[in-house]
């Protein structure tokens, strides 16, 4: 569903990862590991098409990916239902009840998102992925501010998604209990300092 060959990526004009290749098939989950600053977020943003790679290719079908970044994309003055309903409609869908149930948001549906706790808001952000209907989910630190019970909810939602033929890529530091997930340590792919920086900088400056 998603394959990457010989990918090199840069953050702010500085190459962070290079020579990265992997493939992700239906039903698989990939966990990205590595110390802070290794380029997990940059890799996810590159896969999502938000920034171009330095070199290499990302092979992914159209309308396949759904991306969840550090921020949840939740509007504070809209209610939980309105927020989810908006994202469902943006992706041309209307079913939000399963997402609300999966992330235990039933008691909060009419509450404005600004009155949610950090963990509840994060659950709403994760529930958003379910309403997109996209097969490949990409999460950037999905478990930040979640308690143990919510992490379990998240893990079971991902497992259900995988069982339904979906796939997931996530950057996380904690163990989700997803034993079937493959772990990709990004450490060995760290870009050699300075390589490729010069020509990329000029390109950026030109833009």
């Amino acid at each position: 569903m998603l394959s990457v060959s010989n990918l090199a990526i840069a953050r702010g004009g500085v190459p962070v990862l290079e020579g990265l290749s992997f493939a992700l098939n239906a039903g698989e989950a990939l966990v990205l590991r590595g110390p802070n600053g290794i380029g997990k977020t940059t890799l996810l943003r590159t896969l999502a098409g938000l920034q171009p790679p330095l070199a290499g290719e990302v092979h992914v079908g159209e309308d396949v990916l759904a991306y969840a970044g550090h921020a949840d994309g939740v509007k504070p003055t809209l209610s939980v239902t309105e927020n989810l309903d908006f994202w469902a409609r943006i992706f041309g869908r209307s079913e939000i009840a399963p997402a609300i149930a999966a992330f235990d948001l039933e008691g909060l549906t009419s509450r404005a998102a600004q009155n949610l706790s950090a963990g509840q808001k994060r659950r709403l952000g994760l529930a958003r992925m379910m309403v997109t209907g996209r097969p490949v989910w990409m999460f950037d630190e999905p478990t930040v501010s979640l308690d143990a019970a919510s992490v379990a909810l998240f893990a079971s939602a991902v497992r259900t998604h995988l069982a339904g033929g979906g796939a997931a890529v996530m950057a996380t530091h904690i163990d989700l209990g997803l034993t079937e997930a493959r772990v990709l340590d990004l450490g060995p792919y760290r870009a050699a300092a300075g390589v490729g920086a010069a020509e990329f900088d000029s390109d950026e400056a030109f833009l």
Partner: protein
């Protein structure tokens, strides 16, 4: 796209959405002008179309920096960029929402404030028509400026400076059409030129703004 429009309108009219900000600013400017220049009705009549246009333009400018900045901060813009809707359409819809919550109310409020500036009776129609045709250009040009400055902290200053020269043609022809209307002269030429600027901006600016957003989202 309808969903995006409805969401933006809903956010704008709820608490803290900034719907009333532009209108209140317009009101303040127009109410203060007679105090500043004196109550001489002949002077007020002469400057009324220009003051109303400048007031509307500045009121429009006031709400521009929120156009993409809020979506950028809470991550919605990243998600919209990866959504099935093209970014050009996102820009277009957000500019329409901005116009519906800023340009349209300003246009409807202008004749009421025209009374305070002793605008001649024949000028009201042309004032409303010129604003109705000109304010969409202000919104889409503003959307382009907002897209250019979206990643910057305190981008409002740069945004105003970037957008101001782009607003000048619209202001010149818009205020000229309103002035000629008020003095009973033919308004065809300035009105046609302004309508041309407005339509060209609506057609081209969403593409420029979407390109600017893509660069800023990297």
């Amino acid at each position: 796209m309808i969903a995006l429009l409805r969401r933006d309108l809903a956010i704008a009219v709820r608490a803290g959405g900034g719907f009333g900000l532009g209108l209140a600013f317009f009101l303040v400017v127009v109410v203060l002008v007679p105090f500043g220049v004196g109550p001489d009705t002949a002077t007020l009549t002469r400057i009324a179309p220009g003051i109303l246009w400048i007031g509307a333009l500045l009121a429009c400018l006031l709400s521009l920096d929120r156009l993409f900045a809020l979506d950028f901060e809470d991550g919605s813009l990243d998600l919209l960029a990866t959504a099935p809707i093209p970014l050009e359409a996102v820009v277009g819809v957000k500019a329409v929402a901005h116009w519906l919550t800023t340009g349209l109310p300003l246009t409807l409020m202008a004749p009421v404030l025209g009374v305070m500036l002793n605008l001649p009776g024949q000028g009201f129609v042309w004032l409303v028509i010129s604003l109705a045709l000109g304010t969409p250009a202000l919104s889409v040009i503003g959307a382009f400026g907002a897209a250019l400055t979206v990643g910057l902290r305190r981008g409002g200053l740069l945004l105003s400076l970037l957008v101001l020269p782009l607003y000048v043609p619209t202001l010149i022809f818009g205020a000229e059409a309103a002035r000629r209307g008020a003095e009973g002269m033919a308004v065809n030429t300035p009105l046609a030129l302004m309508a041309g600027i407005s339509f060209a901006c609506c057609a081209l600016m969403p593409f420029a703004a979407a390109a600017a957003l893509r660069v800023n989202l990297r």
